[in-house]
Symmetry: D2
Subunit: 267 residues, 4 copies
């Protein structure tokens, strides 16, 4: 009977147990980037038969989850996603969860995940979700605008490199090579050689591939009302000022940021 | 054209951007407790019309998510849940995610969340999930077995205190008092007085309330095959050695741990 | 015989013992401020009969230690000292000790301390050092220039407030009040009232007190050769470009920093 | 005039500047080991012409500083020193500096350093201290008694390995080889081969070398009064219960700890 046990509450010492909790505050006035990654998504994409090298529906599902995260957390100014990863940028002044790292990361990963499960049906109406997906996360503080943009550029460079490699790899596999042969074939090739391989052997102009594959996806709030592409069905849709949108812009070039200063605005 | 931009890769300095990532390793050879909490679950339980003071289906949904988490992560030895929180105990020697705090916490919170959404229908077949739930988490290291048991006892004491208070509060509300009056009525009352209130005024013997409300839920692996209560439908079910089960035991009393040394076994 | 024991080296597992060392890296590209404080210097100043409220020799000894620290660590751009504390500002880009917090702090505190003991004789030729002094330290990262200047201004404001209070307090004590009476007398008084007390009752114009008491001490490298006050003996001394000097400037006013941009120069 | 500036105190925002200070608490109920190392002591020992491979006076100066540290900090139960490093073990329950890592490390390093400078004359009465020595430090938490003893054993194994190597190296150098030749000669040799080299070529029985060189130095409090070796002059001295002493025992063997349970006593 726990009623009796609780006479022993004095012996329990919650203060002692609580004293082991450590602070994990992210440095104030720095941009916090929370990056989440799919756990074992190699297997997840196999089990759910995602198209290779890119499954457009799976990417759009990811984007729609990111939009939900920005709609929930006003302090997130920008997000960039590629493959099964998404980076969220919190504004410098954010006091979300008093900047406690663990809670910020887990709350974002958790909301992203539950949205993923709920919206699965919208993107894969004829495909059953076979087991619960999950995402892990981490946080990094960036003290300057310049290094924050470097981080985002790095992720987009990675998107480009991986997409080009994967496009070649899966074209080789589809053309009859096995996976090891395809890897060996590509070992040491440069950007130009890969583009030529795609062009000559498979008749694919790299730059004509869907922009979402080449550029990844950027998520942010509109400065003013605009007609933008609809995430799920095709066609354009009018979005209002402050609404969260998805775009596939070049965020490596500094001119994007110069032309859209409101996105990562700071004082 | 990003193909041209990537000629500028050398300017991006991924190493610099990466150098801002900090290690957040949990001290080796300590028990790691990851506790997750529902985000804004006061509102969530209102919107989904959870029964007050306890909704048995909602608790069983939580339990079934915790079971899924233990089934996925072999390093989690024990979990204890009450209300919208759940504590997961990783074994001392765990090298999950190389003990990186952020990833452990977010992966557990994320898997718990996606299971919650997927299993919602099993527990609430006639109730729609109106928006994506989320959980945040944190981690604490406990260096000794004794203080780990103190932590778990503290959570169960909290369960008891909150459940007794909430049972009284909601009986007063259901009997016609408004929320403020009910709070005032209970201010400063002791355990015995609350038990008497329930007994005299409402004919409720506290100890006859469902044990899941009074004790919370413990989740662990069976040492040997046994017939245990089924989580969803009523009745008993044979579970095998090593299978994860839910129980509602008194974990404040040290005898529980003495009788089940395999649960938190360590060298 | 340890020669035999070392046959057991395999059992020792240095890798395990080493795995408990945790990284404590200070965020890159932020200004690191290491502040050291005298341990139990209330007692130290009593035992060594420092003059109250300020002992000019003791302050100059502190300053000369700070100069030695800047001469040793090229990455320290600026230091500010008051009473028994000293703040050292490392340049943003510093990679001193790979930015490991513990080692930076302890190395600075240690060098400051040994210089203090060695130079004691220069400032107190007729006073014996009765026991080893010590200083503890801590580090803080500042991500922006503005907040770094706020930190330094805060320390100088503190210097001013403490000096004004202490000047009043010790004048009251010297005039016959005991310490409790003097405290009570000053309780709740404002800046203007304290200045008036000094002026009317003791004939002291606050602004005519030695500038080292009112402003604290700033330590930095000269941009170009100049004749500056000598730390120990009176008179001016020619210092070369890049030499470390002590000054008693107003660092609250932003104009100081605008006129000396080389001190905290950064890209 | 700073009197006017301080009208601007409201603009300074000390709370903001203070908010950047981060907690760096060492996990409660774990043994904290603070290890300090001489900064650039290779150069320091050259400049001060320390005897090679070991300078007994320099080691005894180190030991006497460690004794002073244990006399000041009651929470330090044990210390082990070799060459220019010293490890200090704080008792599990210590609340020194509220377990703030930076302050504990810096205060210990600082007190050790100032004692080193003050006592230099006692050990080197005819040698001038040419410049201020300094020590940096770090802290590690050990959650179990076993791993703490592993740490200490590791340091003593290191002492043995380094001493044996250095003894061979300097004998080779003294016999006419240059430093590179001596290094090459020793490359890949095992313990037994080095012992044979010393014995055959130089007539040195390793185990007859002074025990302080082979075992390093352990510092702890006496359980009961005893006559122990005097640190500075030769001969024995009566030390009382609780007094801090230096010994050169084998701390790799567990029997030492079993025979002296009071040293690292804990509950």
């Amino acid at each position: 009977d726990i009623g009796h046990s609780t006479n022993d509450i004095g012996k329990i010492e919650p203060d002692l147990a609580r004293s082991f909790e450590f602070e994990n505050k992210l440095l104030p006035l720095t941009w916090v980037v929370v990056r989440i990654d799919g756990c074992h998504f190699h297997r997840f994409s196999d089990v759910h038969e995602f198209e290779k090298p890119n499954d457009e529906k799976a990417l759009k599902l990811m984007n729609s989850c990111a939009v939900a995260v920005l709609e929930e957390f006003q302090d997130i100014q920008f997000a960039y996603g590629v493959s099964d990863e998404y980076s969220f940028v919190l504004k410098k002044e954010s006091e979300l969860y008093k900047r406690q790292s663990s809670q910020i990361i887990s709350a974002i990963a958790s909301l992203f995940t539950s949205t993923y499960v709920i919206k699965w049906r919208d993107f894969f109406p004829h495909k059953e979700l076979k087991y619960p997906p999950s995402f892990d996360g981490r946080a990094v503080c960036y003290p300057t605008y310049k290094i924050l943009l470097d981080y985002l550029a790095w992720r987009q460079v990675d998107c480009h490199i991986n997409n080009q490699y994967n496009t070649c790899f899966w074209m080789l596999v589809k053309s009859g090579k096995n996976k090891t042969q395809s890897q060996d074939y590509l070992k040491g090739t440069q950007t130009r050689e890969k583009n030529e391989l795609l062009s000559r052997q498979f008749g694919i102009e790299y730059n004509s591939l869907p922009i979402i594959f080449r550029m990844g996806s950027s998520v942010f709030r509109l400065k003013e009302a605009a007609a933008v592409e609809n995430g799920v069905v095709s066609g354009k849709k009018l979005k209002l000022e402050g609404e969260v949108v998805v775009d596939h812009c070049n965020i490596i070039e500094r001119c994007f940021w110069e032309e859209h200063p409101h996105i990562l605005s700071y004082s």
